[in-house]
């Protein structure tokens, strides 16, 4: 909502610094987004006539313009624009003028020719956006050659505020409403306009117009006036200027006055050519499903039963309630009598209708917030007054306002007084308020109080003004009290009492995971969770049912990820294409599958997972990171099984399972390996990519706590190296497990330190060399301990796994 200071001043005597006034508006919740000082910086600009145009002898892009300032003298100007013709009136910045941008106009030579000023574009004058050509002025200024441009154009020094109005401020959608609020804050009286128009001068309205509100749940009030002897013409400059400043385009006097009244009083209104409304008969009802209408913008629309319409005596829709009028009754040059509609529509109806039709207009914006049902007569009179004035100014025959109105009411809920408890006000705002103070704050903005009220009342019955549709509860009123008291005057303090802040175990563990990964040189990425329809298939992950967006921004962002892998691979490909080789990235984020969540069946399955990729590294890199992470989190004995994992390298992938509380079987918690080369090719990634994915919901939801303390043995330890020739089919993890089981408690450390294939080892097998460290907690190991353990391990590995000890 834009407002002009001059317009606000028609309602209340605002003086003082316009910027300070703006600060008060912001503080009242009407945030000033910008302040424009209109007409400033036009000193020294005069109206000039173009006498002659001639080419500049030394430049193509400049021409020589001779202008006359009304004194018959010719003045040469060099000008870079070519849009004007001889005889045109143009604005000239005379010598000494300081332009709004700060440039001072001086007499100077351009390529050898004198320039005695500058012709201006509308943008240079701060009056428009056109920078291409010189602002050619209206012919009506011909007799004002040499006059000050500002005076000639009727531009007043004014201040334009652009305000951001919240949805709960229907009153502030008008100049009058902003003025009322600001006047209360500034402590100056607010005076609503009082149109002086003689309605009695016209013919009687009876019998010419009738209104039937068929559906009272749509329309709370429908008031009709008729103006006769109308001549549709151009609006005077002052009216056109105000509309333009407030962001509306002047069209013709009727449309412009309609808009003026809406902006001024917040009451949207509609005009019909009375002669196009048979019998002057109007019916107000909900539309029929599919009901056709051609609207003012020329569009043919099919309505729905949630739209409201105004219909004629044939029950054909001639307007969409509160949203847009119909073409069939449009005002034209031949219109003589205007039927003026001032209505109050049910806000929710207009919100639904305008959203559904995709038509958000200045009118619908006001109706959906809740207009003032009791301003209809005043708005109609204001319309008539303005039309009368405009007609007079144009010197045309006078317009007459038909006597009386047709005023029909539908459902308008009567508004009960609201009990406002002074202690509640103080408690909610955290500052002491008295009944008197509450009155003092609310009365200037139109709230009234039942009973005399000595100011000491603990409970006051507050009546809400009709222009505050939003206000319906005690809390709503308290917000108004706080607003006018000033938020800044409410003290700042911390809630009393003891409350302990902390992260929970999972949050701490998640931070720990991130820190470990960062310590390993892996950086955290955040790819978008949206995928293109074929991304999952390209990643070899199409088996998991995915969710799709019903209103995606683009098809490439229409699928929700079921895995972090496609996003991370795209990030790797992006980096490789920018010569960032060897990137190591991880992400912790949500993935979804299109299946009901076991805990909340109305939602799909959502899990938090860790994804990790290292470009240029093999599967062992993923295994190393996995081992380190699991050990860091206190996970013991993960069950690693090499097997096919969708989208991973078929012979270089494995799963990890854990024993979990409450589950009889180990639960899969991670996959790792390398990304399938075919997938890498599909994503345009070169080289190998190590990959690890961990289900954090499982891993972090089972906190292992701190491991129990084991005393460090004070007795010497002994190392034994054993190398076995093991068939390739037997995983090292099996050898590892067999050794641990056979060695028993004496084994304190087991390390696979060498893997060898080649001479001396059978084809289809490899040598696995282990170092066992044996130690007892309570004694120095005897040779028999060491030899016994060694023999047991060799026997178990040989018997259990068919492996052969190498010597």
């Amino acid at each position: 909502m834009k407002v002009l200071l001059s317009w606000l001043r028609e309602f209340a005597p605002f003086d003082g610094d316009p910027v300070a006034l703006g600060d008060q508006m912001s503080d009242l919740g009407m945030a000033v987004e910008s302040i424009e000082h209109l007409g400033a910086g036009l000193d020294g600009i005069v109206v000039a006539e173009v006498l002659a145009l001639s080419p500049h002898p030394n430049a193509d892009k400049i021409q020589l313009v001779d202008v006359d300032l009304g004194d018959g003298e010719s003045l040469q100007i060099c000008c870079g624009a070519f849009n004007m013709a001889v005889g045109d009136l143009v604005p000239l910045a005379t010598l000494g003028t300081v332009m709004p941008g700060g440039m001072k106009i001086e007499r100077r030579k351009l390529r050898g020719e004198w320039s005695n000023g500058m012709l201006c574009s509308s943008k240079e004058l701060g009056l428009g956006d056109d920078h291409a050509g010189i602002f050619v002025l209206p012919e009506s200024l011909r007799e004002q050659r040499g006059a000050e441009f500002r005076a000639a154009m009727g531009i007043e020094l004014d201040v334009l505020y652009d305000l951001e109005i919240n949805p709960n401020r229907p009153d502030a959608m008008s100049v009058a409403g902003v003025a009322r609020d600001l006047a209360a804050r500034m402590g100056v009286p607010f005076t609503q306009i009082a149109p002086s128009v003689k309605a009695s001068s016209g013919t009687d309205l009876d019998g010419r117009v009738s209104v039937n509100i068929v559906d009272p749940d749509l329309c709370g009030r429908f008031l009709v006036s008729v103006l006769d002897g109308v001549r549709v013409g151009q609006s005077p400059q002052w009216l056109a200027n105000r509309l333009t400043h407030l962001g509306m385009r002047p069209i013709n006097s009727i449309v412009d006055i309609s808009n003026y009244v809406m902006l001024e009083l917040g009451q949207p209104n509609h005009t019909y050519d009375l002669h196009k409304v048979p019998n002057g008969e109007l019916r107000v009802r909900w539309a029929r499903e599919g009901e056709p209408i051609r609207t003012l913008d020329g569009a043919d629309r099919a309505l729905r039963s949630t739209d409201g319409v105004i219909a004629n005596n044939a029950d054909e829709a001639i307007g969409i309630a509160g949203v847009m009028g119909g073409a069939s009754t449009e005002i034209s040059d031949t219109t003589q009598s205007v039927l003026l509609e001032m209505a109050w529509w049910k806000p929710m109806a207009i919100a639904v209708s305008s959203a559904q039709l995709g038509l958000r207009s200045e009118a619908s914006m006001r109706f959906e917030r809740g207009a003032d049902p009791e301003i209809c007569e005043l708005a109609a009179l204001r319309f008539a007054e303005l039309l009368t004035r405009v007609t007079e100014e144009a010197g045309a025959d006078p317009v007459t306002l038909a006597k009386g109105t047709v005023d029909v009411r539908g459902d308008l809920s009567s508004r009960e007084a609201i009990a406002v408890r002074t202690p509640r006000v103080s408690a909610l705002l955290g500052a002491p308020f008295t009944g008197e103070r509450i009155r003092e704050l609310l009365e200037p903005i139109g709230f009234t109080f039942d009973g005399a009220g000595d100011g000491a009342d603990v409970v006051q019955q507050v009546r809400i003004p009709t222009f505050r549709f939003d206000t319906a509860t005690e809390t709503d009123v308290i917000e108004e009290i706080a607003r006018h008291h000033g938020y800044a005057r409410i003290p700042k303090r911390m809630p009393a009492g003891v409350h302990v802040g902390k992260l929970d175990d999972r949050q701490i563990a998640r931070r720990r995971v991130r820190q470990v990964l960062v310590g390993l040189g892996i950086s955290e990425a955040m790819p978008m969770p949206f995928l293109a329809p074929d991304d999952l298939e390209r990643a070899g992950l199409s088996d998991t049912p995915s969710l799709t967006l019903s209103n995606p921004l683009a098809a490439e962002e229409s699928v929700l990820r079921t895995s972090l892998r496609p996003g991370l691979l795209k990030a790797v490909a992006y980096n490789q294409s920018h010569r960032n080789e060897g990137v190591a990235l991880f992400e912790i984020g949500k993935v979804w599958r299109n299946e009901p969540s076991p805990t909340e069946p109305s939602l799909p399955v959502e899990r938090e997972v860790l994804g990790l990729v290292v470009a240029g590294a093999d599967a062992f890199e993923a295994a190393r990171v996995l081992d380190l992470l699991l050990r860091d989190l206190g996970v013991v004995a993960p069950l690693v099984e090499q097997r096919l994992v969708a989208g991973l390298h078929p012979t270089r992938s494995a799963t990890v399972a854990l024993e979990v509380d409450g589950s009889p079987l180990p639960v899969d918690v991670a996959v790792f390996g390398e990304v399938d080369p075919r997938v890498l090719e599909a994503f345009g990634v070169a080289g190998r990519v190590a990959c690890l994915e961990i289900d954090l919901d499982t891993l972090l939801s089972n906190p292992r706590g701190g491991p129990a303390y084991t005393a460090v043995s004070r007795y010497p330890s002994s190392d034994t190296d054993l190398a076995f020739e093991v068939a390739d089919a037997v995983p090292a993890s099996a050898v590892d497990a067999t050794i641990r089981s056979a060695a028993g408690d004496l084994l304190v450390r087991l390390e696979l330190f060498d893997v060898y294939r080649g001479e001396g080892v059978a084809i289809g097998a490899r040598s696995l060399a282990y170092r066992l460290r044996l130690q007892a907690a309570d004694r120095t190991l005897a040779d028999t301990d060491i030899n016994g353990t060694r023999a047991a391990v060799i026997g178990a590995v040989a018997d259990g796994l068919g492996a052969k000890l190498r010597s």
Partner: protein
């Protein structure tokens, strides 16, 4: 004997002086002082002497032995020192000659900022709550006093999913659903913040992304007032931005709070003097806040006469950009390591 002793001493000292390795020193030591060494032989012969002579010769033997041992030790140390110098010299490294720098990992800027915010709020007595990113209409809007077709729904461009009834399931446009879940799951008092990822149907540009991050806070307790809200945000402001930065609240509108406010901080770039970033106002808009609306408390079965609360929320991404002077939100999500490695 004495002569013999002197000769042994002279020869030994000479040979020790000529020994050019630790092994050579060792062999001299063996030849003189070993089991079959010259000095040992003399010692063995002492028994055959008269007692007087035995004593005087014995004393001389000990003297000679001490002299030779001192010479051996000196020579050893000398040789060891030479060896050490040679060894160390051979081990010399040019420590500026480093091939292949170690890879350093970087937390995402949003994570860094989120952690910092969480830490400040933990310090102010808040826990951290999380919830699903795919939500129902009820948790995202209905319970927050935004019934279907409420005009305020236009304040969020929501992304909906093809799941369940039309428009029943969505990507949460704010973290407020977590507030509802927290109030459902635990009885007051509640002091908690809700950081997390949110989604809007916004085309990516320098200041918008369809995916970004918010942190909200919720307090529900007895006797909570607007003053508590203002004080808590003031405490957060000075803790997070520094003691010279202050906060202010301006009237605003949100369906789920009343009274509602905009939360501004004095400009962190000019400290309130006015600069380009704050459009010469001296203030930066950070987020929204207000007293929890009675309808929201009612939606989770809390009596608004007994319990009161406040809530606030703001964006994390913008704070991340502000701290490092990044001017384009999209930079956070390109995952270009040349960007990530700067933080």
């Amino acid at each position: 004997m004495i002569d013999e002793l002197l000769r042994i001493e002279t020869v030994a000292i000479e040979r020790i002086g000529l020994a050019d390795s630790l092994d050579a020193v060792k062999s001299v030591e063996a030849e003189v002082m070993g089991k079959k060494g010259a000095l040992t032989d003399i010692k063995k012969g002492l028994g055959a002497l008269e007692p007087d002579e035995r004593r005087s010769v014995g004393l001389r033997v000990n003297d000679v032995r001490a002299v030779i041992e001192a010479a051996l030790t000196a020579r050893r140390e000398q040789l060891e020192s030479v060896l050490r110098v040679a060894q160390l010299d051979a081990e010399r490294l040019d420590l500026t000659e480093r091939v292949g720098a170690a890879r350093r990992g970087h937390l995402h800027l949003v994570t860094q900022t989120r952690d910092r915010l969480e830490d400040v709020f933990v310090g102010l007595g808040f826990t951290v709550s999380e919830g699903p990113e795919i939500e129902t209409d009820w948790y995202s809007f209905g319970a927050l006093n935004i019934p279907p077709s409420h005009p305020a729904r236009g304040m969020w461009d929501t992304l909906y999913l093809n799941h369940g009834a039309t428009m029943s399931t969505l990507l949460r446009p704010h973290t407020s659903p977590v507030q509802i879940r927290v109030m459902e799951q635990q009885p007051p008092p509640i002091y908690s913040v809700m950081p997390g990822r949110v989604y809007r149907r916004d085309t990516a540009d320098a200041s918008h992304m369809p995916v970004f991050h918010q942190i909200e806070g919720l307090v529900v307790d007895k006797g909570i007032s607007f003053a508590d809200l203002a004080g808590t945000l003031e405490a957060f402001t000075s803790a997070y931005f520094g003691g010279s930065i202050t906060s202010r609240l301006r009237p605003s509108y949100f369906p789920f709070t009343e009274p509602s406010a905009e939360y501004d901080i004095s400009c962190i770039f000019c400290e309130g003097r006015g600069c380009r970033t704050c459009a010469h106002t001296g203030w930066l808009e950070l987020g929204g806040c207000g007293m929890v609306h009675p309808n929201v408390l009612a939606a989770v079965g809390l009596d608004a006469e007994e319990w009161g609360g406040f809530a606030f929320g703001f964006g994390i991404d913008r704070l991340a950009l502000m701290r490092h002077g990044v001017d384009d939100l999209r930079e956070l999500y390109t995952n270009d390591v040349r960007f990530m490695e700067q933080f």
